[in-house]
């Protein structure tokens, strides 16, 4: 099927109007390679990197084409073929994908160093002295968007097992993520609080591996499988009512461990169970009927909602975060025009394709500003950072937060605990 219904939903096609930059075009290239009409070359590799992987095409596709899977396979083929290899790229990929993001303790150590650099004023001094000039051009552009690392990581904020005060209804595992753990550990705390407030015993192992989403999306299939196995070893899916994630990009990948490990005799059964139990926090709260907070003193605030691609397109979760926001006292939810159009963050896209990412970021910030909202909520750390940077660059005083944080605050406002 190549009807083209996906074309108008694709941000890269929208920018260039070139077929090869559309989902239909990319699939045609994959097929041309499979049918020996085309050789897998660097141009194909670049095309696959140019795709945001936002999956808007999947939502639009009446025929139900599984673009996410085709895309992951294509990216893995590109890596296997070696057409994109050069020493710098290979060493960066090895350092990031195979070393940093497979060793959670090392990642935290790097995070700790980054925090020190930021907290001691070294970053300020570095910038102030204009030393950023010394960086290579690509890094120089990235330096200002370095996320601010929090002083405490998830394991310092959340105990391995926490029980709800008013009796346990469910037992859930909480995934703390990798970037989320360093930059938004407070949101992990908020998530735990919200789960506790809704009768969940929360199990949060202090050291957790990366879920493998970054590997899956970047063509490192075998590493992604290994990360999935480690995750399943850590959280036995049969021991929980649900395993909760609060990062849309991870969630979208985490829900497919079944497919990832389908041929793994030791893990296939647990992986299928894992898929069944894996829930985005918004999805879980609405499914189990979350407690609506009551607060008489809540200040009215205009909030808009930006949909993380991997939540709305990847997981088809659109209604639940809005329901949560609307239930919070004082929140006046204003719809965001093009709420499901990618903000340009797209995993590491804003690092690998900064120009396209910036265009999308600017477009998104403009739409958010047009709503007149004081706060924008989203459900993914990547989008969250992209929006924070976008607001800062545009000089806008619009706060970025997540629905679960607003809900946690509302619960806290009504009871002194937490």
């Amino acid at each position: 099927m190549h009807c083209g219904m996906c074309l108008p939903t694709c941000p890269t096609y929208d920018l260039t109007k070139l077929e090869q930059h559309s989902p239909r075009g990319r699939i045609a290239l994959m097929r041309a390679i499979a049918d020996d009409h085309l050789e897998l070359g660097p141009a194909f590799g670049e095309e696959m990197s140019y795709c945001l992987g936002c999956l808007a095409c999947e939502t639009a596709c009446p025929a139900g084409v599984d673009y996410a899977h085709l895309f992951e396979v294509a990216r893995a083929d590109v890596e296997k073929s070696g057409v994109m290899d050069n020493p710098v790229r290979s060493s960066i990929r090895t350092a990031l994908l195979k070393i940093l993001f497979t060793h959670p303790r090392l990642l935290r150590l790097v995070g700790r160093m980054l925090w020190l650099y930021q907290a001691t004023g070294a970053q300020w001094l570095f910038r102030r002295l204009g030393l950023t000039r010394l960086l290579p051009a690509k890094l120089r552009k990235l330096e200002p968007i370095t996320p601010v690392v929090l002083p405490k990581f998830s394991h310092q904020l959340i105990r391995p097992v926490e029980k709800p005060a008013d009796g346990t209804r469910y037992r859930v595992g909480l995934l703390t993520g990798c970037v989320q753990d360093l930059v938004f550990a407070d949101i992990n705390r908020d998530t735990a609080d919200v789960l506790l407030a809704n009768g969940c015993e929360v199990v949060t192992p202090p050291v957790q591996p990366c879920c493998g989403s970054i590997h899956g999306h970047n063509g490192e299939h075998a590493v992604a499988q290994e990360m999935a196995r480690r995750m399943i070893d850590l959280f036995d899916p049969f021991a929980f009512d649900a395993i909760i994630t609060n990062a849309a990009g991870c969630g979208s990948h985490l829900k497919h461990y079944g497919r990832l490990l389908a041929d793994d005799r030791d893990y296939a059964v647990r992986a299928r169970e894992w898929d069944r139990k894996l829930k985005d926090v918004n999805e879980w709260l609405v499914e189990t009927g979350f407690r609506v907070p009551v607060s008489e003193a809540a200040e009215s605030q205009k909030v808009t909602y930006h949909e993380a691609c991997h939540l709305c397109h990847g997981q088809k979760i659109t209604r639940q975060p809005r329901e949560i926001l609307q239930a919070i006292p004082g929140v006046e939810l204003t719809e965001l025009p093009e709420s499901d159009w990618c903000c340009g963050s797209a995993g590491v896209y804003n690092i690998t394709q900064p120009e396209t990412a910036a265009i999308l970021q600017e477009r998104k910030v403009g739409k958010i500003a047009s709503t007149g909202a004081a706060v924008v909520a989203t459900c993914n750390p990547g989008c969250h950072l992209q929006l924070v940077n976008g607001m800062r660059q545009a000089g806008l005083d619009i706060r970025v937060t997540q629905p679960v944080t607003l809900l946690a605050r509302a619960y806290r406002a009504q009871s002194p605990r937490g």
């Binding site: 009807c3 074309l7 070139l18 041309a32 085309l38 194909f44 596709c61 009446p62």
Partner: protein, 470 residues
């Protein structure tokens, strides 16, 4: 511009020369870019062009054609590539002229009720621009969110409102066309009446890129209807739905939409859109009436009664505009949604006079049964325009053979019933074998003469509609 002939006769380096000949022209000729323009929306057709060019104005189109004519390079024009008859599938080694970057809406003239757009403007954007000044552009092909207005004119596309408002042809007032030798011609204007000479404009409408390159389109707009009412009639048998359509027409009621979906289609659409269509129904009619509020009420009541009298079980009336819009949107995705059933989806476009619909529907069902094929049927039943859609697998040669046999039988029956082989998708590559039977040899001969008059070298979309000239 004078260009020297390619001395080696090799195609491989003409893209480079083209860059030099047409200043500023975007020329793409990498293997990836050529592979990405090897197809359109039609199943199982593929051929690679030597290069793809993206002109940004008429002068560049003219330059490209002068270049192509001098070298006898075939030119296949396309927009978004949503065509369903292979009309914009390249011929090997041709030049694909892609007009998606000529997409400006140049003028909306609210005094004369016209709109002027470049050919690459997306149809939905054209409709939105008209709505922006309180006017209405009625043609709404299923793919309107992505198809281009130039492509709609070249294929004379229909849509869901064709019954009352007609097809693209009924809204084209004028065209800017580049002829094969690069001359730029205007045909038509803003006058409601104009009988000066032959209506050449009409020749280009539905010409499928074989006579000239449409670069600008002047469209007629109309006032929008004041009210609208949408209903969904549910049937437990397909022929009752067809009978309802005949009865509505016979009662001298022309609603704006009278769309049909069979059970297979209903379920595929529901899998995608999830709007609550009744999955158990054998057939559905989506009926929309629009116009003066009182007339709409009266018309809707009459159609409701007719539907009931002809065996409709339930008739649901859309409570809100959003509900009505989601029904129409779901119907728009029918063709693509059918792709959920089999790897290859081949859409046909059989059209019959409306009083012969029950016979045509029966023929499609019987043909499917006889050849053991899966055929989903939907379509613009109010126009007599049905889309029997083969749900098959192109890799299964034996099944594909049965598909061909069934297709022939369906077309033969449509022609026998006074119908035609295509109501709105065009002949292109997919249906050219059936053209003589549908229109007669004499008609085909006249068409060839017209082609020869406009394009004596036969460089424009060769091999489409009928075979290329010798």
């Amino acid at each position: 511009m004078i260009v020297t002939a390619n001395p080696s006769g090799s195609e491989s380096f003409f893209p480079q020369q083209l860059r030099g000949c047409v200043p500023g022209l975007e020329v793409h000729d990498s293997p990836e870019q050529r592979a990405a323009y090897a197809y359109d929306g039609t199943a199982a057709l593929r051929a690679e062009p030597a290069a793809v060019v993206f002109p940004i104005d008429t002068a560049q189109v003219s330059g490209v054609l002068k270049f192509a004519t001098a070298r006898r390079i075939p030119v296949v024009t396309r927009g978004s590539g949503t065509g369903l008859s292979g009309g914009s599938v390249p011929v090997d080694g041709c030049l694909v002229l892609c007009l998606t970057k000529m997409n400006r809406i140049i003028e909306v003239d609210a005094e004369n009720l016209t709109l002027l757009a470049e050919a690459g403007a997306v149809t939905a954007d054209v409709a939105a621009a008209a709505a922006g000044v309180g006017l209405f552009y009625p043609p709404d092909p299923g793919s309107m969110k992505i198809s281009t207005i130039g492509g709609n004119v070249a294929e004379n596309s229909g849509g869901l409102r064709g019954l009352k408002y007609g097809v693209t042809r009924d809204y084209v007032m004028g065209l800017e066309v580049v002829l094969p030798d690069g001359e730029v011609m205007w045909t038509g204007n803003k006058c409601v009446k104009d009988v000066a000479g032959y209506t050449l404009r009409d020749l280009f409408i539905g010409s499928e890129g074989t006579l000239g390159i449409i670069t600008k389109v002047l469209l007629k707009l109309i006032p929008p209807p004041a009210a609208r009412k949408t209903m969904l009639a549910v049937y437990d048998n397909m022929e009752n739905a067809a009978r309802t359509v005949s009865a509505i027409i016979k009662a001298k009621i022309i609603p704006c939409t009278l769309e049909f979906l069979d059970k297979v289609t209903i379920n595929c659409v529901e899998d995608h859109a999830g709007i609550g269509l009744p999955r158990e129904a054998e057939a559905l009619l989506l009926i929309e009436s629009d116009g003066h509020p009182a007339a709409v009420e009266e018309e809707a009541a009459a159609m409701l009664a007719i539907a009931k009298a002809n065996g409709a079980g339930e008739v649901k009336i859309a409570a809100t505009a959003e509900e009505a819009a989601s029904l129409a949107a779901a119907r728009r995705t029918a063709f693509s949604a059918l792709a959920r059933v089999g790897p290859t989806t081949i859409l046909e476009d059989a059209t019959v006079p409306r009083n012969r619909l029950p016979e045509m529907v029966r023929c499609i069902q019987e043909t499917a049964r006889r050849h053991h094929l899966k055929i989903g049927t939907f379509g613009h039943m109010g126009d007599g325009n049905l889309h029997p859609t083969f749900l098959t697998n192109e890799k299964n040669k034996e099944e594909m053979h049965r598909v061909e046999l069934a297709m022939k039988e369906i077309f033969a029956r449509a022609i026998e019933l006074g119908g035609t082989i295509t109501g709105e998708h065009g002949v292109g590559l997919a249906k050219k074998d059936f053209l003589p039977a549908a229109v007669g040899e004499l008609n085909v001969g006249v068409m060839r003469s017209i082609k020869a008059a406009f394009d004596p070298q036969g460089i424009l979309n060769p091999g489409k509609i009928f075979d290329p000239l010798p």
